[in-house]
Symmetry: C2
Subunit: 214 residues, 2 copies
């Protein structure tokens, strides 16, 4: 046999990406074989090489698009205001929503970095650094404006990101807590952690503005 009826390169590639994210998240990059991935897609292993020249190319593509998607999501969600508390709240909300929605891709991007070549690792880490820099800027502005109480901006940024990203380790959709409840709790923990002077969680929500004492 050769080309199968109804075969479509676009659909196959999309199916490969989705299956790869799930398989790598579950088994790990090294443990997933190309034959396993092909079987999941319903295709022979050789067919995968029409879309990705090597296994590492596939991994890198998944990671790069995940990180670019994260930066794009933040650029879309970034509020216009200069208020550090409102910006921090938006950052937290975007981060948690994005990571819960893409748990598997996040797992891959965080756990499989060591399987990339040096050059590609550097490119992914640059994207990550750009994203983290945004948080540090918010924390620095808040600290300088006196609305946050922060010992060490860099260290606090890392602590917050680890805390927020950690959600994907234990969160399972449809269990005890909803995404909204988790986000609310993480927001208040974040605001307390940075020593926010006002109830910035409410202040960050325009519809609740009038109820907040500024």
């Amino acid at each position: 046999m050769a080309r199968t009826t109804g075969s479509d390169g676009g659909k196959t590639e999309a199916a490969v990406r989705e299956a790869a994210v799930n398989l790598i998240a579950r088994l790990g990059y090294e443990a997933m074989s190309m034959r396993q991935l092909a079987a999941e897609v319903g295709v022979q292993a050789a067919a995968l090489y029409r879309y990705f020249p090597t296994k590492e190319d596939l991994l890198f593509t998944l990671m790069r698009e995940h990180m670019e998607g994260l930066l794009e999501a933040w650029n879309a969600a970034r509020p216009a205001t200069a208020d550090p508390a409102a910006r921090l709240a938006a950052y937290v909300e975007n981060h948690i929503a994005f990571h819960i929605e893409r748990r598997h891709a996040t797992h891959v991007s965080n756990m499989e970095l060591r399987s990339l070549s040096h050059e590609r690792l550097t490119r992914i880490l640059k994207l990550r650094a750009a994203y983290e820099k945004e948080l540090r800027a918010i924390l620095r502005d808040g600290a300088e404006a006196g609305v946050f109480e922060i010992d060490d901006v860099g260290l606090t940024a890392m602590a917050l990101i680890q805390m927020m990203t950690g959600v994907i380790v234990w969160f399972r959709p449809g269990e005890r807590l909803s995404i909204a409840e988790v986000t609310t709790t993480y927001l208040s923990m974040t605001m307390r952690l940075v020593g926010a002077k006002i109830d910035a969680y409410d202040a960050a929500r325009p519809r609740a503005m009038d109820a907040v004492a500024l």
Copy 2:
């Protein structure tokens, strides 16, 4: 050749364990080959099987001993007092000190769980659950006593553990910050996060007790 002069089973086994932790942390369990590990120890691959019947046995042994060590360290560091803030401070200090000291082993225990058989995975997760239960008990006591302000004990415990364990991702001994500085900052972030009513960091240190307003 066969047995080499000066060869000693005890020393070889210890060398295997140490090399395995470092190699698995750096390359990942699946990516590390038994031949690579043997070369690191200065021995042939077959020699490894005198000490560990399979590669997975080696992994499991490293993980189990790491988790047992963590529980033992906490049992040794656990303070006698009932004061939640003091107990929380002790938990944070012990957690950070232990994890920084054993960065590589922690990496292995956190990242390679999926390479364990179901039965062994369960055993490791039980040890982890026992350790996390200790933190939840502290948080619950503090919330009930009114010295902590906590929305959700389980969620706060997970957030704190993720935040604290995250230290091993970016901390490198001998760089900008010392272990003591990191611990101090994490302690104050923790106390703010749980809404501790008093400066529990100082309260947890007997020598500073008299300076704290109770």
